[in-house]
């Protein structure tokens, strides 16, 4: 078991003939992800890498392949349209890797995708992986190993760092999900925590938050009231100055809200383990599993 994706997941790649889309499609194929098609308007009828059929639209790709998942690597100004096209074509899980999507675009995309009943992950996220089964996005496959820790994070490379340390310590993962660093995104911490709670293969959860917004505080409340599985949390940005955007569009302390301190306090009040350093996840999770 796992959350959101497994070896039955069928994936199309939007922007498959682009530089990033092409590179990561090869990586996903190597990992064993079932890539059944790609979409690049104007290149329908071609094949990618000699095996993957390319279509002019998501509708055409879904009709021909029955794909249930899409991963998006198109430039920021086209990402909103790509997400809405995927939802309209009946895709159930839309993973948007693209960084730099205007936030106002997301105010239209989010309700549209909700109304279509699809799940959106991202934008500005590394995607997700169920080790040994499927990866959708850009998380390096070789740092992961199958196991029972669920991982959810707002970051990319920090997630890799922690997954890598877990793997080295012999602690495999059920699924690893990067929800992205933007202020308005699709899937949030609670969606992932709830899915991990219901996944029998997940025995504990590692959660990496950062400064900005109140997602972590709401997640802590969820852990305290709705979860039976242990959760260990980390907050990046304890040394970040207020009012500055720390790389991620959403990583900003506004006024006095969104600080690392208030998030860590929320974790502590919820009875969660609090990792002060990335390496602390190993010992804190071991003690709880």
């Amino acid at each position: 078991m796992s959350i959101f994706i497994d070896n039955s997941t069928t994936v199309i790649v939007q922007g498959i003939t682009g530089r990033d889309g092409g590179f990561h499609t090869k990586q996903m194929l190597e990992y064993g992800t079932r890539i059944v098609g790609g979409v690049t308007p104007g290149k329908g009828g071609q094949t990618f890498d000699g095996t993957v059929p390319v279509f002019n639209s998501v509708h055409a790709a879904v009709k021909a392949t029955g794909a249930n998942t899409s991963v998006i690597y198109v430039p920021p100004m086209f990402a909103a349209d790509a997400m809405m096209e995927a939802a309209d074509a009946g895709i159930r899980l839309i993973v948007c890797i693209t960084e730099g999507v205007p936030v106002l675009d997301m105010t239209r995309v989010y309700p549209f995708v909700q109304e279509k009943g699809a799940r959106l992950l991202g934008p500005n996220c590394p995607g997700l992986i169920t080790p040994g089964q499927s990866k959708v996005g850009i998380i390096p496959g070789r740092i992961c190993t199958p196991g029972h820790v669920g991982v959810v994070s707002r970051s990319g490379t920090l997630t890799y760092e922690i997954v890598y340390q877990l793997t080295r310590a012999g602690m495999g993962q059920s699924s690893c999900v990067g929800i992205g660093g933007d202020p308005i995104n699709g899937t949030n911490f609670i969606d992932c925590l709830s899915a991990f709670e219901n996944d029998p293969d997940t025995h504990a959860v590692a959660m990496m938050g950062e400064i900005g917004g109140t997602d972590e505080q709401e997640a802590a409340e969820f852990v305290a009231t709705r979860m039976t599985k242990p959760v260990v949390g980390f907050i990046a940005g304890q040394t970040a100055p207020a009012g500055r955007r720390m790389g991620h569009a959403g990583a900003i302390i506004s006024g006095s809200a969104g600080t690392a301190t208030e998030k860590i306090e929320a974790f502590e009040q919820a009875g969660m383990g609090v990792a002060k350093r990335p390496i602390d996840f190993v010992t804190l999770l071991k003690a709880r599993m």
């Binding site: 205007p102 997301m106 970051s155």
Partner: protein, 381 residues
């Protein structure tokens, strides 16, 4: 991206928001000439990207053009929250009967732009929200339909009873929303929205922040950027496509990825050091970025040690190693460097570094401890 009050007012005026006339000056003489042209009382206002300008003495009322010149000479060059005032706005003064607050923020919780209006204007809206939330009306807007007429009217009625003022305010709400959407804003505020003694509803101050992700779509807004209001090193970094924020510590950090960059700074602090900066070289592994990053960091005299922390996923660590070698051959380092690399092509990277006289580790905690010790002038552990 933050823009100045006078720029925000231009964007609002373009949508029809009534705003008293005014012009900007960078010398006292210009300020005097503008005041003369406007006639009557004027306000001289410091144009800096900081709140609390009034409290800092950066906003003053002048009764004559001579006084405007005198005040401008005092305000120009003044420092407000560390920022030097290079420009003042000289604008016609208004006779104020009452003040209100009107703003739109992009709200993470509702995932919508949210109007916030309050009859308690001219003060800190965060404080009003915290102490007397009933004095604020919050109205989320579905951007697929825009601000509807009945919503604009509801906002107007929350502020005023008199129908003429309600209509004037509703019109301003519509114009503010247009300006917000058209310019890809993340925040647009009129604070205060004023009723004059004559009964007119006008905007006396304005603040707009632009979502940086919109700038590709709105190249005209890029022209509003005031690079004199930023750290020169941060401007340099942006032009080199690096995300860089200057801090006060002495351990210079070069990291790939924003989350890992923040976590690295935090770890420096954890081991008793102080980070000198936030720097994310991004996901692609262009050696040029490494060269630029080293140039920017080593230009800061307070940096006593450099710490590389690279987790190679998409980023190829051999590219980063090549960047380090190229940069240090061109400009030999005067301060110690600690390199932590792991992930994609790690073996090749280690070989490149060793051949060029560098040592590198694959352990993040060890590397951070070592950099902190070196910055303090000690020996590496």
């Amino acid at each position: 991206m933050n823009i100045h009050e006078y720029q925000a007012k231009e964007l609002l005026r373009a949508e029809g928001v009534p705003i008293p006339p005014g012009e900007i000056a960078s010398t006292p003489e210009q300020a005097e000439a503008i005041a003369k042209k406007l006639g009557g009382m004027v306000v001289v206002k410091a144009q800096v990207h900081a709140g609390g300008r009034g409290k800092a003495g950066g906003v003053k009322l002048a009764k004559s053009p001579e006084e405007a010149r005198e005040l401008a000479s005092r305000i120009l060059g003044m420092k407000i929250k560390g920022l030097t005032v290079h420009t003042v706005l000289v604008t016609a003064a208004a006779e104020i009967a009452s003040e209100a607050y009107v703003g739109i923020i992009l709200d993470r919780a509702t995932k919508k732009p949210v109007f916030m209006v309050s009859a308690a204007g001219g003060i800190d809206i965060e404080e009003v929200a915290a102490t007397t939330p009933e004095k604020i009306l919050k109205l989320p807007i579905d951007t697929r339909y825009g601000l509807l007429a009945y919503q604009a009217s509801e906002l107007g009625f929350f502020l005023f009873d008199d129908l003429k003022k309600v209509r004037a305010a509703s019109k301003i709400m519509m114009a503010l929303y247009q300006a917000f959407m058209k310019n890809g804003a993340s925040l647009a505020e009129i604070n205060p929205l004023v009723v004059t003694l004559a009964g007119d509803v006008i905007a006396l101050d304005a603040k707009i922040s632009i979502d940086d992700n919109e700038l590709d779509r709105h190249p005209e807004l890029e022209a509003l950027r005031d690079e004199t209001a930023e750290e020169p090193s941060e401007v340099d970094a942006r032009n080199s496509h690096l995300t860089f924020i200057k801090l006060d510590g002495d351990v210079g950090c070069i990291v790939n990825g924003a989350g890992l960059a923040m976590a690295t700074m935090d770890l420096v602090k954890y081991y008793g050091g102080e980070p000198a900066n936030f720097l994310d070289i991004g996901g692609s592994s262009n050696p040029e970025k490494v060269v630029n990053a080293l140039r920017i960091i080593t230009a800061e005299p307070h940096v006593k040690a450099i710490l590389f922390n690279i987790f190679g996923g998409i980023t190829r660590t051999d590219d980063v190693a090549n960047g380090i070698v190229t940069a240090t051959k061109a400009n030999p380092l005067k301060i110690p460097i600690v390199i932590r690399l792991t992930g994609t092509n790690e073996e090749i990277a280690m070989q490149i570094l060793t051949e060029n006289g560098f040592t590198a580790s694959s352990d993040m905690d060890e590397a951070v401890k070592k950099a902190v010790a070196l910055a303090k002038g000690g020996q590496a552990a």
